[in-house]
């Protein structure tokens, strides 16, 4: 068991190292300074980008694709819950039993939503046209990762498979499509800065 725990830990360290390298590489690039006079408020824009702007009703696209968007949110909740569950797995014996039931259901729902996403990528015409092999692999790998974590919290027989799949997932994060988890933050910050500065989001409903 310890070997597999160490393997997963090594995978986690490798993944974090890879993501840190990516972060450093992007930060090394030029960040254009904007000298145009501000009309709105940049910090309000960034706050909007991570809060109101993420609500399913905030955008026409998510209003149209509400189910797909909520599926994605549920899937990502599952991923982060699985990461948390794996990290604290050496201390599972100290956790109250009701937590395992909650974890099991959150992870099960996450895995089902992940699998739905994987199937959609194959079945839906637009998504099939957009998807790369990397996308298909990433969605099924993370689904498997959530599923393994979900099964492991209720059945010890799945703990070793969970560590093996976790290792692969962690190592793959900086290498493939999953690294968008890092760029999500960059992207929403730039979104908030751009539209906040120009008073588009949030947008004051008065003429100044």
């Amino acid at each position: 068991m310890l070997i597999f725990q160490l393997l997963a830990l090594a995978g986690l360290i490798a993944g974090l190292y890879g993501i840190t390298l990516r972060y450093a590489e992007t930060k090394r690039r030029v960040l254009p300074t904007d000298k145009s006079p501000i009309k709105g408020n940049i910090s309000h824009g960034i706050t909007y980008a991570f809060t109101k702007g993420m609500m399913p009703w905030a955008k026409e696209s998510t209003r149209i694709h509400m189910i797909a968007y909520l599926r994605g949110i549920g899937f990502h909740v599952g991923i982060f819950t699985a990461i948390g569950a794996v990290i604290v797995s050496p201390f599972w014996t100290y956790l109250p039993s009701f937590l395992f039931v909650t974890l099991f259901w959150v992870l099960t729902v996450g895995a089902v939503l992940g699998a739905a996403g994987g199937i959609m990528r194959i079945a839906e015409h637009n998504l099939r046209g957009l998807s790369l092999p990397d996308d298909h692999f990433a969605v099924w790998l993370t689904t498997l990762f959530i599923m393994a974590a979900g099964l492991a919290v209720v059945d010890k027989a799945f703990v070793i498979p969970m560590y093996i799949i976790s290792t692969i997932t962690f190592v793959y994060i900086p290498l493939g499509k999953i690294r968008h988890c890092l760029y999500f933050f960059f992207s929403r910050i730039f979104f908030g800065k751009f539209f906040g500065r120009r008073a588009v989001f949030p947008h004051p409903a008065v003429v100044k």
């Binding site: 254009p32 797909a68 957009l130 990397d134 968008h180 992207s187």
Partner: protein, 442 residues
């Protein structure tokens, strides 16, 4: 590797800053952006999904910068840039994207696809594969800036004639169109054509503004090319003029890309030399009405009126409430399009598309969602505060039989000022015809 490809790649590298790399890396290819694009709405196919378009550049970027893609190109469909790929990228960036940023607003991650399209345009401009007409228009503007004396005399003659018209319209014998007035407060930068000079001149005179007219036009084709060198040179003419005259403020005519570039980009290109406030004529109109500097008749426009948000003015420029405030003071039947404001659908004429005759069919087809929006309002008058939008909506009007009149905001304001005579050669003149008797009675 050919010299063309080498230049394009070199330009991509030089463009690769934090926001661009983020845009290239962040996409999850969820496809949720599809309906945000007017091209997709008009013709739903995978190639019209913004994420698909961006993928074409990403595949090149990955080949250059991604470890896994270099080992297994098939895994991420990465590919080496060659002349045919560059031609395809150029075609996409100049004919299938108006840089409206509607996809960015609708992306759950906020991926800035227009930033990538701009990068492609810059690559094409550097490699010499960008549409020639845009290059020619930008270069002509630069040449004009080098020696304005060539056409200045003719321009001043035209202004003299316009002054006569101005006095005729306003009934004010002292009404004037000052050109190159030293120390004026405002430098007004028009577009090519009297229709962007005469109506603002009426307004500035009525407001007793201390203004002067620029001898250059606001349009900047270097911006459409994403060619920073050219765009800067075109803008420099006006920056130098403003510095020479010692004005405090530059007011841009009703033009989307000119406003967005002078308001939000030009201050970055001329750090230290640019100490002016930049406003759109729309903001000035709102201010004059708000402060009572011009008097307008709230019942002047009884017809159903709708407003088209230019992407550069609204979503990319933050001018959302100002035109609506003006319209609320001069119209009695204003009809909002759905969706509008920051979510407004692009008319299809932005990004320089109106100037590219070779893509006219595509442009008209992509304008269908806007035509449907206009039709749904049932309005008789469409106000657009951007010249390219007006040209595009004019084409849509004809093609989709919308039976509407398209007008600039200033023209309608002048009409609401109840002057002795209408503005010649504007849509507002046609609208004016119907009420001539009533005006004469007044």
């Amino acid at each position: 590797m050919s010299e063309t490809v080498e230049l394009a790649l070199k330009t991509l590298e030089s463009q690769l800053n934090q926001p661009l790399e983020t845009a290239l890396e962040a996409c999850a290819r969820c496809g949720i952006c599809a309906e945000a694009c007017h091209y997709y709405r008009a013709e739903p196919k995978v190639e019209h999904i913004p994420a698909f378009r961006a993928e074409q550049l990403r595949s090149v970027y990955r080949h250059e910068h991604d470890f896994l893609s270099r080992l297994f190109p098939i895994w991420t469909r990465s590919k080496k840039l060659d002349e045919s790929t560059l031609a395809n990228l150029t075609e996409i960036a100049f004919s299938q994207c108006t840089l409206c940023r509607r996809c960015t607003v609708n992306c759950p991650l906020g991926v800035d696809t227009p930033l990538m399209m701009r990068a492609i345009r810059a690559m094409a401009s550097a490699a010499g594969t960008a549409p020639e007409i845009l290059v020619m228009l930008a270069d002509a503007a630069i040449e004009k800036g080098k020696d304005p004396s060539f056409y200045k005399e003719m321009f001043l003659e035209q202004i003299k004639e316009m002054e006569e018209q101005l006095r005729d319209i306003t009934g004010d014998p002292n009404a004037a169109i000052p050109v190159e007035k030293q120390g004026a407060k405002i430098l007004y930068v028009p577009l090519a054509g009297a229709h962007t000079i005469l109506p603002p001149a009426v307004v500035f005179n009525a407001a007793q503004e201390d203004w002067t007219l620029s001898i250059f036009e606001a349009a900047n084709y270097g911006v459409f090319l994403a060619d920073m060198k050219r765009a800067r040179e075109v803008a420099k003419r006006i920056v130098d003029e403003a510095n020479r005259l010692g004005v405090k403020e530059i007011v841009i005519a009703e033009c989307g890309h000119a406003y967005a570039s002078y308001r939000w980009d030009v201050p970055n290109w001329f750090a230290g030399e640019f100490d002016f406030k930049v406003r759109s004529l729309i903001e000035v109109l709102a201010e004059y009405i708000q402060e009572g500097k011009i008097q307008v008749d709230p019942t002047a426009i009884p017809e159903g009126v709708t407003y088209h948000d230019s992407c550069n003015l609204a979503r990319n420029g933050g001018l959302i409430e100002e035109p609506r405030y003006v319209l609320s003071k001069i119209t009695s039947d204003f009809r909002e399009m759905t969706p509008s404001k920051a979510e407004a659908i692009c008319c299809g004429g932005g990004g320089g598309l109106v100037a590219l005759a070779e893509y006219a069919d595509r442009r008209i087809a992509a304008g269908k969602p806007k035509a449907d929006q206009i039709k749904n309002t049932g309005a008789r008058v469409v106000v657009a505060a951007c010249e390219n939008c007006r040209l595009q909506i004019g084409d849509l009007n004809e093609h989709y039989n919308l039976d509407v009149r398209i007008t600039a905001l200033t023209d309608l304001v002048v009409r609401a000022m109840r002057l002795p005579k209408p503005l010649p050669g504007t849509e507002a003149e046609h609208l004016f015809e119907g009420e001539k008797v009533a005006v004469t009675d007044k």
